[in-house]
């Protein structure tokens, strides 16, 4: 029998379709693997309620289970709600290399939204950047511009 740990490691390699340098394990989207009798249950959680990548991620996880030759299903859970705090340190440095500024700090639920966080440009490292739009190419990102190198870049929002 394939162990839960081995299954976790295998399905954890599924890449996020929107940010393909990150795996679902890096993101914290993969929540767990457990056996229910002979059946394997993989739980995943969406980054945002409307995240359109979830269907593809679910499908890829199912394919991986198939390759491993295990019988299983994928369960989506909403609680506890996903937070950028779950993103691994490795994930954050992969994001920077990819050209996306990783999330910084944490944001208390219901607390005030910080308006003037300094986000470092992932391309040249300058802290002199400005926000163009709170909402970027996907729900999880905002759009920024570096005032030093003038390049636009995405920032993974803290949530």
């Amino acid at each position: 029998m394939v162990t839960d740990e081995a299954i976790f490691d295998a399905v954890g390699e599924v890449a996020d379709p929107e940010v393909p340098v990150l795996t679902i394990a890096d993101l914290g989207v993969l929540r767990g693997v457990r056996h229910e009798g002979d059946e394997v249950v993989v739980t995943i959680t969406p980054t945002y309620s409307g995240c359109p990548a979830m269907d593809l991620i679910r499908h890829e996880v199912e394919l991986t289970l198939n390759h491993l030759g295990v019988d299983g299903r994928v369960e989506t859970v909403l609680s506890p709600a996903w937070t950028t705090d779950w993103m691994s340190a490795a994930g954050k440095s992969k994001l920077t290399e990819y050209g996306i500024a990783p999330p910084t700090g944490t944001r208390a639920v219901g607390g005030p939204v910080m308006l003037s966080l300094t986000i470092r440009c992932p391309l040249c490292g300058s802290p002199d950047t400005s926000e163009l739009s709170r909402f970027g190419s996907t729900s999880c990102k905002s759009l920024w511009r570096c005032n030093s190198c003038r390049e636009p870049f995405d920032h993974f929002k803290a949530i």
Partner: protein, 244 residues
Amino acid sequence: MSDLFDYTVRLGDDALIAAQRTAEWIAAAPQLEEDVALGNIGLDQLGQARSLLQYAGSLDGRTEDDLAYFREEREFRNLQLCELPNGDFAHAMARLLYFATYQHLLYEELRTCADETLAGVAGKAVKEVAYHVDHATQWVLRLGDGTEESHRRMQAALEALWPYTGEMFESDELIGRLAVAVDPAPLRAEWERRVLAVIDESTCSRPEASYQHTGGRSGRHTEHLGYLLAELQHVARSHPGATW
């Protein structure tokens, strides 16, 4: 039909109809960044609607699609505020300020309710809605405290939608009976405090107390909902059973 079903459908319909109106802005917003922002906000609302309608459907053997595409106008339980036509961009931001502030207060309470699923949906949604409130706030300030024309339009929008805000805070028998339901009436004071603070800062004047429309929670809607549903439902109804 259980009280829990009815209550969940109210929340789900608010989110679904709001999402449909928000989506209408895509490719029609005043700037590209705003197309993207409203697209994302609509997607958040749609995601919340899906979670809620899936849950409601699971309580009585229907799917989220059955509930979204195969109910008639009078079976929808959304607030009238959500279904009103978009109007100009100031109207969109006034509606988002009113609605997202309400949703934020509501979800904040709901995330600690005894129903695990509703609490889970709310715990997720409250973080998304905080960004919606922030986005609307920035625009109301910018437009209200902008040019003479933007100020005039922002003021007009805030006033035009104010008569639809009272409905958000109506309690009724269903809410009284259902322990997990959040009574919206006590949320009103804090809602007014937050919204009026934004209006004051925007240099607009506070809308005057006025007649308040009501009826959405019992299926009585403005004439606009039917047209919205026609667009939302017609593909699904033209090709029953189709999947995509």
